[in-house]
Amino acid sequence: FRGKLPQTSLLRDSRWYSVSHLSVKERIDKKRKAALIGGGQKRIDAQHKRGKLTARERVELLLDPDSFVETDMFVEHRCSDFGMEQDRNKFPGDSVVTGRGRINGRLVYVFSQDFTVFGGSLSGAHAQKICKIMDQAMTVGAPVIGLNDSGGARIQEGVESLAGYADIFLRNVMASGVVPQISLIMGPCAGGAVYSPALTDFTFMVKDTSYLFITGPDVVKSVTNEDVTQEELGGAKTHTSVSGVAHHAFENDVEALLNLREFFNFLECHDPSDRLVPSLDTIVPFESTKAYDMLDIIQAIVDEREFFEIMPNYAKNIVVGFARMNGRTVGIVGNQPKVASGCLDINSSVKGARFVRFCDAFNIPIITFVDVPGFLPGTAQEYGGIIRHGAKLLFAFAEATVPKITIITRKAYGGAYDVMSSKHLRGDVNYAWPSAEVAVMGAKGAVQIIFRGKDNQAEAEAEYVEKFANPFPAAVRGFVDDIIEPSTTRRKICRDLDVLASKKQVNPWKKHANIPL
């Protein structure tokens, strides 16, 4: 039948097709070009002037070279009000760059909000793009990284923008515990938008250029009459040291992105697993009231002294972070005797609990170093709900089914002893150093109760110290598996992790547990 068509008509048709084809190709190129330049050179320059990189530069630096595969470059917003339908108000890709790529070979999904397009504001299309890559990440089980730099909702779109936020929130919740989610705040993130980072596993910030708050300084002024700057209200320092909203802050965009790459690193290393650490034999000071730095112990024990601390400036009386032992990623929790004697309070309990749950969700073994004098007393703590918040840490350790190894370096007093991944909470291996003191409380307090009103308090105190200020009471009952020389700790942990690699433990089936929020 084709063959019967007149030659001329074929020629004409093919010419017509090729012309049309050319014009589509031109349009594609034009759109791609436009997408690459976002809000235009002027706005890019302005972004640079603020000391910030563009959305695309950030993606490029974060991912391995040439590994970025973009999706939805041609998506445009669908708003037709307030003149938004005009061509000059349309930007291919809208105000977010999305796609997938690799960090040192590992697959990740990324979205990077583009401040040069409508201030990075969230339109329905913008949200749709983010949702799409989150869905894809869920189906293949890859982490999601969000690079946030957005003025907030696209006001012109009204409720469609709000719906977009909610769509993202829902996906954040559904993905929680399924794939790791990381937010890096690289510009403003205000209003409802803050809840997406809040729902992710880790929130990192860039110092001086990023802000997170529910309402900005102007609204604060009009409502509460407080004078506060953006930086004070929701800057990196506030959220990493006061509110505990963010887990880490970095100097600038470049350092933040390079460190995020590092966060994804899994090193294969040659740090011998049976290396002795003689320095640990002298780390716990002679006087039991004297402080030492738990980070010294952690760094000496882990591979290559590399410890990625989470929330280093918040609730410093507990130390949490990631490290490697014989090449395996582990989560480390340690009381910090250097700060507030390493006691547990509201903030440190919550910090610890969230970290433990992250590790458990993603099958990362937990190593706990215990030197805890107890929970912090006082009205501030009780009124603040230390009972409820302390319970979170207890809950988290108890429900965790990943390998749990605990080392009591010195004090393990009272309820805090139980909480800190004790044998009783299904600890797999629990060690004590010779300097360990496992008791209900310190000698002084105990003697005041046991020998109330008696004269020979000093003598009684000495007796109590002799009886309880050592690892034996716990060891004879099997509450610690062994009393070990500190220098052998690394070797022992590495060996235990080998054995525990095949650990299988399940909690009773339930819809979900009811952690005391």
Binding site: H48, G51, K52, L53, E57, E60, L61, P65, N104, G105, D208, F250, E251, N252, D253, V254, E255, L258, N259, R261, E262, F263, N265, F266, L267, E268, C269, H270, D271, P272, S273, D274, V277, P278, S279, L280, D281, T282, I283, F286, E287, D296, Q299, A300, D303, E304, R305, N326
Partner: protein, 668 residues
Amino acid sequence: MAAHSLSPSLYRLLFAVKYASLHSRCCAVHKKAQYSTIYNPSEKTFEKILIANRGEIACRVIKTCKKMGIKTVAVHSDVDSSAVHAKMADEAVCVGPAPTSKSYLNMDAIMDAIRTTGAQAVHPGYGFLSENKEFAKRLAAEGVTFIGPDTHAIQAMGDKIESKLIAKAAKVNTIPGFDGVVKTAEEAVKIAQDIGYPVMIKASAGGGGKGMRIAWNDEETREGFRFSSQEAASSFGDDRLLIEKYIDNPRHIEIQVLADKHGNALWLNERECSIQRRNQKVVEEAPSTFLDSVTRQAMGEQAVQLAKAVQYSSAGTVEFLVDSKKNFYFLEMNTRLQVEHPITECITGLDLVEQMIRVAKGYRLQHKQEDIPINGWAIESRVYAEDPYKSFGLPSIGRLSQYHEPLNLSNVRVDSGIQEGSDISIYYDPMISKLVTYGATRSEALARMEDALDNYVIRGVTHNIPLLREIITHPRFISGDISTNFLPEVYPDGFKGHQLEADTRRELLASAAALYITAQLRSQRFLGEVEVSGQWDLASPLLPLTINSTHKMLQCLSRDASGNIVLQYLGTSFQVRVLSKLAAELNSYMPEKVPEDTSSILRSPMPGTMVAVSVKPGDTVAEGQEICVIEAMKMQNSLTAVKQAKVKSVHCKPGDTVGEGDLLVELE
């Protein structure tokens, strides 16, 4: 999977083999490099010795005791309960809390320790009670042997004025000066004028550089008198002073002597100790490049004359100042084992501690003067926990988070009393170790010293290896053109670290880039796609590398995700930033962050105790005016204002213990 589980165990095996072979090798080397004399086990000696000291010298003495089959007792303060010397000894007794006056100088507690342990003799080491005649007397009263000279010699040589009189009488060359007690500043000025400037003013009772001031005119004499008498009073409880001719451009050369209780005495050649800062020795060597055999013999013979004049027994050191014309003047005699004794041991083959113990037991010397050789050359670097960039070394404290001595190299001896995890505290001397290298020739010993310094891993405290390495590679030092003014002459504006040239700069940058690439490649290795040669082990603090076919040893001090790499190269640490091309381009958009303006903030440059605070809020201070004084490691340091300003607030008071970087005073 199989390969995976096999490789760690294989690695362990290899590691064990490597370690074992290293270990045995360095033991063998030690014997060879240190002592050629053979210990005679049939010679009866003490059964138990107490070492009334701490740190490296206590360990040093215990080592010889172990060799001789003598049981050892260590004394320690409470903070030292897990110190190396306490663990090394057969018994350890706590003699008090951390401050030395309550522990290592606490004679009552030490006497108790001697009684309870039944020690027959005491080795005092150096410092502390080593030259304390009272201690020697108390030991004698209880029938315990003091391993050192008798009280007469200690007393005679311990007093600078008396020792000079004795030396003069024994026909030992002495420095022109005033031998007597100086009562007032004006008297000091008059004496100084009589002798002729420059003069040196010092405390009679003090040893080393303590309480020493040099005056070039009347005004400086008055000031020196005031300072020295104060410091003498506070440090020694004895404010007598001595004023003498100051010898310009002098060398400090000392003769080791060894004498027995039967009137025999030997000189064991010299030690060149001219490299000093603030009159404290930094680098020593034996023999000296400067002495000819005639001068050496003359000095040795005078030293022996002096030893005989005071019926000296045991090991001792006669210090001389030597001027450019090889005239030598008696300075003082140290009636104890000297810090730098190992270099003499290296070139003579004698174990001085063993000889001291023999002599104390009453034996005659085994050697004749002609038996004493000079075999090869030995150099000692004193590795200190101090910041060499601040007046050639201000004390620093901290915990040795990583510590490896370069004992994998041959002909290296390290005398130390610390280990990984030890604390360098404000209570004691900040010396980390004495690093000694030995060679058939001086250049061999120097080359080995370079290697040893490059291989020495010290983390957790600031140390003076950058300075030591610069000294031993400096052309003036290599040519032997040194004096006690070496450091201020070579570094008139203070020590600034190694200065890179075009080629060394390229080497450094190339090394940093190679390290960066190695780390980056390893990050991808889990995929099994990239094979990195096993040359570099990123877990190791040492980075052996080959640059243009020469072997160099660098150390990686830190490395972070932002591309910041700190490398120790040629002794000095350099910060390098390595970024990918893209990251470097994008980095140009990053804003410069302004660091805190520190000119109006005075922070403590070192840990220590506040002795005096000279200002109060509201005062106006002039530039250079003293604000406060900090005492650290027995040294007083005056902190001054960097600009004229009004004092806003004062955050310290006398008696406070302050840490490095603590805020002391704020100016407006």
